[in-house]
């Protein structure tokens, strides 16, 4: 209870600053917090990355095994994305099976990976109808200070791009890098009293009326979108956020290399 109630004074302070076009940490409305991306954190994963966006800290790992394809896609590898809001990351996260927030996070990241077709799934076919590569992306939030969508997606991108398919140990030939064709990037913004703020901190998220995550590819095309929270966005605001996501997406893309 006490863990998630925000004081009215803090809320008012955010609004007062916004009225002057400012944010609590001094950032511009379309500025990201400092981002750090470190790949190859894990020796047991086929690919991994640890991403920090401000104080938000996310660890992502990719594991691959050989398995059966789905019946309707007999010549394609299988993708699964899972996210965990583990209790060590925040006093508000509880132990137990993934709650609706974990599930939403996982599914939005999954959409960005899947709909962008960034991974050449046909290249992950070993023997049609019999054997394909199964790819698991597991996202763990370690420290929560807002904007899990972007931190998690950046982590997933970095982890996937550094993934080496473990063909050798599975008796399927030589290891090879996971074939990546596109670089989708997600950018999340919130609407607070009709101001748009990119990369919200936890406090900004608590005060936000609506949230929109937009995932674009290197051509600026849309690959995934998710509107969240219980408020509304005008079409104009949606347009502004999309345009900002394209612009900032290009900058973020350079961080992944």
């Amino acid at each position: 209870m006490a863990r998630s109630i925000m004081s009215e004074i803090k809320k008012d302070h955010i609004h007062k600053l916004l009225a002057k076009g400012r944010r609590v940490d001094g950032r511009a409305w379309d500025e990201f917090r400092p981002i750090s991306i470190k790949t190859n954190f894990s020796e047991t994963a086929e690919g991994s990355a640890r991403v920090r966006v401000g104080n938000t800290d996310v660890l992502v790992g990719v594991k691959m095994t050989v398995g059966q394809p789905f019946e309707d896609t007999p010549n394609k590898g299988v993708l699964t994305t899972n996210a965990e809001l583990i209790p060590l990351a925040s006093p508000t996260f509880e132990s137990g099976p993934p709650d609706e927030n974990s599930v939403e996070l996982a599914r939005v990241c999954d959409r960005g990976i899947r709909e962008s077709q960034m991974i050449d799934l046909e290249a992950l076919c070993i023997e049609e109808r019999k054997e394909v590569w199964i790819l698991f992306t597991d996202i763990y939030v370690l420290d929560y200070d807002g904007n899990l969508f972007d931190a998690a997606f950046l982590g997933a991108m970095a982890a996937l791009r550094s993934t080496i398919v473990p063909a050798k140990e599975n008796g399927k030939g030589e290891d090879f890098p996971l074939p990546i064709r596109h670089s989708p990037i997600s950018v999340t913004a919130v609407q607070i009293e009709n101001s748009i703020l990119v990369d919200p901190t936890l406090d900004e998220e608590k005060v936000a009326e609506a949230r929109l995550t937009v995932t674009t590819d290197e051509n600026g095309d849309l690959r995934a979108m998710q509107k969240g929270l219980q408020g509304a966005l005008t079409l104009e605001q949606v347009g502004k956020i999309i345009e900002t996501s394209q612009r900032l997406g290009n900058d973020l893309r350079k961080l992944i290399g």
Binding site: I5, E8, I9
Partner: protein
């Protein structure tokens, strides 16, 4: 541990460190085993009179009667409010302990969930059940301004010797600042000045153990405030 000059260095101790094996008596933050006094907490070793104690460097605020605290309403009942005082123990505030006349069931009209208030710890029993009051002079609901939280163990540093540090910040930023014993701080003034004061307090929190802290804070404030401060104090 830094022991270049034993009389000047403040010694960090860890749980299990031997503090004294003879003459000193055990104060807060320590425990006794086989006639010896050991540190029970991460903190600074301190000897006063013939007691040895440990000043904690972290941990949760544990309320003590008489403490002034800044609380947040987290729940309301018909004849009381439940106040979060940034401690493992929330504190009920009864309608008899507020400066207003509140009819049964009318509590939400005076303070709602999310409201901030200045209160005092009335009592703490053996099971650590806490009672707070707003009935003293100066205690009230707070509005406007901004709230920040620091570790309660840094409160003495933020206040400074005889209040010198907090007066420095208040004077140079022209803000009103209330520092609760529980590590919550309320600031009010012009928005720019509030931001400077917050930053100054963060500097103290991050550098609480270093030397020349007052100068660091003063330098920062001088560099950001444009108003001339009166050479008071």
């Amino acid at each position: 541990m830094n022991k270049e000059n034993a009389s000047q260095t403040r010694e960090i101790v860890l749980p299990g460190d031997l503090l004294d094996s003879g003459k000193l008596k055990a104060g807060p933050g320590t425990y006794v085993q086989d006639g010896r006094v050991y540190a029970a907490q991460l903190g600074i070793k301190n000897v006063k009179s013939n007691f040895v104690n440990v000043i904690p460097l972290g941990g949760r605020y544990i309320p003590a009667p008489g403490d002034s605290v800044i609380g947040k309403v987290i729940d309301i009942g018909p004849s009381n409010w439940l106040i979060d005082i940034n401690s493992p123990y929330p504190a009920p505030l009864h309608v008899n302990e507020v400066p207003w006349r509140v009819d049964f069931g009318d509590t939400s009209r005076f303070m709602g969930v999310g409201d901030t208030l200045l209160a005092k710890i009335l009592s703490v029993d053996e099971t650590k059940r806490v009672q707070v009051t707003m009935k003293e002079q100066g205690l009230r609901k707070l509005q406007g301004g901004q709230i920040m939280e620091i570790s309660y163990s840094k409160v003495p540093r933020v206040i400074g010797k005889s209040g010198s540090m907090i007066q420095l910040i208040k004077g140079m930023t022209n803000t009103r600042i209330f520092v609760g014993q529980n590590g919550r701080i309320w600031l009010d003034g012009e928005i720019e000045n509030i931001m400077f004061a917050i930053r100054a307090i963060k500097i103290i929190e991050e550098n609480a153990q270093t030397s020349r802290l007052t100068e660091k804070v003063r330098e920062y404030l001088e560099s950001v405030t444009k108003t001339e401060q009166a050479a008071s104090g």
